[in-house]
């Protein structure tokens, strides 16, 4: 591996080292993965900008790949209807759509209560409020952890 290290990208070198370690001690690699999976978690924090971050760690790699593909697929659907932003922004929007069960595509003809009383100022939050009401039954402490 060392003879080709200079030709590898940083990511390629990292993968080559991981592969070499697995070749030498596959059982250790398995134990490390299974032990780390017990620390699977989702974290959220406020960023310096005032926006927020949401990240999952120690997740099954195949499901992460499939989830990432799903995010890209939905971002593509958002792009098709002409939503603003590059793919990074659209993927971030798609990420939230998928987690919150939302569809951020502009609706040509609003239906339901929003049609009679549209809320152009912030349609996203209106949709979120509707979702929260649906998710948390009346009387429950919606949004608390």
């Amino acid at each position: 591996m060392l003879d080709r290290a200079s030709r590898l990208t940083p990511g390629g070198l990292r993968a080559a080292i991981a592969r070499a370690v697995m070749e030498v001690a596959p059982e250790k690699a398995r134990q490390r993965r299974e032990q780390a999976a017990k620390d699977a978690r989702v974290g959220r924090w406020l960023e310096d900008s005032g926006n927020a971050a949401l990240m999952g760690c120690e997740l099954p790699p195949d499901e992460v790949l499939a989830a990432d593909q799903r995010i890209t697929w939905w971002a593509g659907e958002l792009k098709k209807v002409g939503m603003d932003g590059g793919m990074d922004q659209l993927r971030a929007r798609a990420y939230l759509d998928l987690l919150l069960g939302k569809d951020s595509r502009p609706c040509p003809r609003p239906v339901g209560p929003q049609a009679a009383n549209p809320s152009p100022a912030n349609p996203d939050r209106t949709a979120l409020a509707g979702w929260s009401a649906a998710w948390f039954p009346p009387g429950s402490s919606a949004g608390s952890t």
């Binding site: 993965r33 195949d62 989830a67 069960g101 939302k102």
Partner: protein, 74 residues
């Protein structure tokens, strides 16, 4: 709600000796990197249960260079 209509695809490359439990060499998840042999076997077993899975057998030389590849139906 986000409508249905998405099918994801995960590409796993694994040595035959790993899949047949004759050796413990790592596999590779495209887009990620190496995976330990147990995870490679688990993923291959899960893929084998999915009728939409496609298989590609690649013959390599002793240096790991591919010589022939053939797509097989599930």
């Amino acid at each position: 709600m986000v409508p249905a209509g998405f099918v994801g695809r995960v590409n796993l490359t694994a040595p035959l000796v790993t899949l047949t439990d004759l050796a413990g060499r790592p596999g590779e998840l495209a887009g990620f990197g190496p995976v330990d042999p147990w995870l490679a076997r688990d993923l291959a077993a899960a893929a084998a249960r999915n009728p939409k899975t496609t298989w590609c057998v690649t013959v390599t030389d002793e240096h790991g260079h591919a010589h022939r590849a053939r797509l097989r139906p599930p």
